[in-house]
Structure formats: C-alpha cells, structure tokens
Subunit: 142 residues, 4 copies
C-alpha cells in the first residue's frame, strides 16, 4: 500500500472504533499523511440558551481531527496535550470544519496545528496538539 | 447577597442555560467564589472500542468547570483559551471529577487551574484556562 | 507610507528600544506586515556544561520575533501569553533563526506562530504567542 | 542520603553547570523534592526604553526554576514544553522570584507550575512546564 492509501485505511480503522466522534455527528472529509479534515454541525445539544456552542465541543472536533492526523502514518499515536485559543463563537446550526496539519515529527513527539472555521470560512479557533507515538500499527499487515 | 450565595445563584443561572453540560450528564457538585467542582460518568457514547474516553470530552468536563469557576464572581466571563495535559486514560464507567481553582485575576484576565481525577483519585488530566471578563452580570439585581 | 514601509519603520523604533534583544546578540533579518525573522548565535553564556543552550533563551529569541511580528501593523501590541515545544537541543555555536507568521488577528487578539531552526534547517522549537493590542502607534505620524 | 539532601545535592550539580542562569544573575533560594525557588533582579540589560523587562527573560527565570524542580528527585529530566501567561509587567530594578511546585509525575512525564512574583508579592506571570525524564542521575552514587 502506498502512503496515501495507508493513511485512508488507518483512518477507516480509527473511525469504526470512534463512538464519540460519531455521536457528535462528525464527518471525516479527508485524511492523508500528516493531514486530516473533519466537519461537524452545531446541534441544539451543543449550545447554551444564547445559541453559543460549548467550547469543549469545538475542542473535541479539533481533537478528533488531531487524532486522525497524528495516526495517519499508520503508527499508533496518542494525545499528550493540547492548547486551544477561542477566536469567535460558534452558533447553533453552524457547519464547523477542522483542518489539521503536521508541523513537526521528531522521535516519538509530534506537533499538529488545527484550525476550526465555520461555513463562512471565519476562523473560530486554533488548536495545537502534541502527540506521542505508542507501540502498534493501525493496519497491521501494511 | 454575600459572595458565597452570589456564586451559587450565578451557577444556577448558568446551569439552567447549559444544554451541553446536561447532555453529557455532568453534575455540578460545588461552586464558590473562584472555585467549582463538577463530575461526569464516562458512558458508552464517550469511549472508543478500547473503552478509552475521548480526550475532547475530558476537556469538556474541565472546560465546564472552568466556566463555572470564572463566572463565580457574578461578572460574566468567557474562555479565551485553554491548555490540557493528558496524564492517564479515563475508562468506560469511570466517575470523573474536575476541580477548578482561580490562580489569578488581574484586570479582565483570569487564570484557572482544573484537575480531573477518577473515582480512585488518580490524576487523569490537568487543564489551565485563561478567561476574559465581558460586560454584564449573571444575577442582575445582586 | 505603504504597509511594508510602515512595518519596517515600526521595527526600527522597536529595535532602538530593545536592550535585551541586542544584549543577546539578536539580528533582525526581516519584518513585514504579520511577519518577522530574527537570528541569534548560541554563545558560551547561553549554554550549560554539556554545551546545550538554555531553553529560556531559545524562547526569548522566539518571543522577540513574536513582538516584531505582532507590532508590524504599527498598532502597539503586547504578549498576553505564549507556549513553546522543545523539539531538539540547540548547541554552542549554533546559528538559530526564528521565523514568525500571523495566524489570526481578531479584535484585540492575535495569534502568531514562530518556528526556531538551526543552521542546518533542523527544527529546534515551535512557539505560539497570543498578543493583545494596546493603545498607541509606533510610528505616530503614519 | 535522604530525599531532601539528595534534592540539594542534585541542585548543586545543576547550578555548577548552568552558565545562563548565572549570567542572568539568578540566585537559587531553595530546592527540595518537587520544589524550587529562584530569584533574579531586573537589570538595564533586560529592559526596553520604557523600563519594561523582556518577557523572554521572565520566562527564563521560570524555566530555570522548572529545571531545578523537575530534577529534584535526582533523576535527570528535560523540558518538553512550557506555557506562560503574562499578568503584569516587571520593571527595572524589580526583584523577581519564581516558585515552582510539582503538580503531577506519571511515568516519564511531569507537570510543574511556576509563579513569578515581584518584591511587592504581585503576580507577574504563571508558567506551566511539562518535563520528560531521561536516562541518568545527577548524583550518581546516591
């Protein structure tokens, strides 16, 4: 399998397993080596009485995108930590998209940057995740 | 109203409004000035096929706790950003508790530290949030 | 003055004033709107007995670059906070370069990403800074 | 050697080696297991024309304190990353003190919180560092 096909196959294995991202209605748009893009609609369960989306769920969208990006080389990796900056509110009905790009991968440590935008391409949040690779592959016979 | 009563009354107004925290089954255990404690059970919706809780939902628990702590002075405040370090996995059925304490409040900026522990008092994650106060009170006639 | 000339003029005013960056031997390589690049040689004062550069001084190089980038629109801005990930050690004699790029500027808040590399173009650290604009211009008659 | 004596002995070995902290005039006030406190005077080299201390040097003080705290168990550890929030300016002549406390130590990862205050006990900055232990002891025959 080439690297692009392997990234897709690894993503399929992750997705099958990922109850929380499905429960939140996320849609995996694209995964390639060092990259992932996932979208999510802001539903009534996710907002407060002012129709503002809970910041934790914006983080969760970015965190799922981070997970798909940092596992895209087929080497299992977990989040060691992450930081988010909230730049604009997300509202009921918004279509959010998180795009994640690998910035660095040195030894067992990776750094990935996610940007969360809405359907008007306005920047809602920026998220930086630090990953640590662990033992094991996703596609085991790759 | 004294400060402790005001913190409780502000928390009640926030809770009434907070669909996401209710949807995730959170329980507000205690709120006082500069402090909040909220718990959440890890349900099947929150885990992957290895029964590990999605990091975004651990973040969300800490983020709700942060919101209650940084609004506990009755002055409305929002999250400007946050960082989390994941120290141990949370598992299906775990009873997580996030405890948040104000570290600094200077001008419009606050810094709050949350610790997330499980039912065995093991440390699952540490979270630091930066808040910005905005115009408006929660209890308006306080 | 056009925006590029204004960024240069603002940088000159900042540089004149910046004892610490001069003391550490920094050299401003380029400043344009939303961008700065500064270099620094790792001297014996900056290292420990194993010839490893103190992480705080790597941070300081990135922080100066951040300051020049976030003031490049001629609107005065200060650092609200920053996070750094150390990816590889810097050694005695290394020529470090920090390159900073604006990621977001919304209202008074800016997010800037700096990468610190050595003379072999190896990535030493990534740094994300959050700025807050304050009153006042650098070039006052612009 | 008991743990307190070992922490002191480890600190002495680190200090002997630490050109940068000496160059910046730092003074190690106290080191015990999971704890360090270091002070530094803000000198003319450290300030700009408005007598404000460079944020990078405030970071460096906290970073040195972090290093002494995370090496206080005699197991060598390095900084993986750190985040700082700047809360108030430090001025020429200020006597800054950074106090660092271990928050978590799980496997190879540690989390340490530093607070930087001035001579009036005003909070200047908060700093959170993530450490990774590496092979080797400081006091080798402990």
């Amino acid at each position: 399998m080439d690297k692009a096909a392997l990234a897709k196959a690894a993503a399929e294995i992750m997705w099958r397993d990922d109850n929380a991202s499905k429960w939140l209605g996320m849609r995996v748009e694209e995964v390639r080596p060092g990259y992932a893009r996932i979208s999510m609609t802001v539903t009534p369960n996710m907002v407060n009485g002012h129709n503002l989306c809970h910041g934790g769920l914006i983080f969760t969208l970015a965190d799922s995108t981070f997970a798909f990006a940092c596992n895209s080389h087929n080497q299992r990796a977990v989040a060691a930590g992450a930081a988010i900056e909230f730049l604009a509110p997300a509202l009921l009905g918004d279509e959010l998209t998180a795009e994640g790009i690998e910035q660095a991968l040195k030894g067992r440590t990776g750094v990935y940057d996610m940007k969360v935008t809405n359907q008007k391409n306005e920047l809602i949040a920026v998220f930086r995740g630090k990953s640590a690779t662990i033992k094991g592959l996703l596609v085991e016979d790759a």
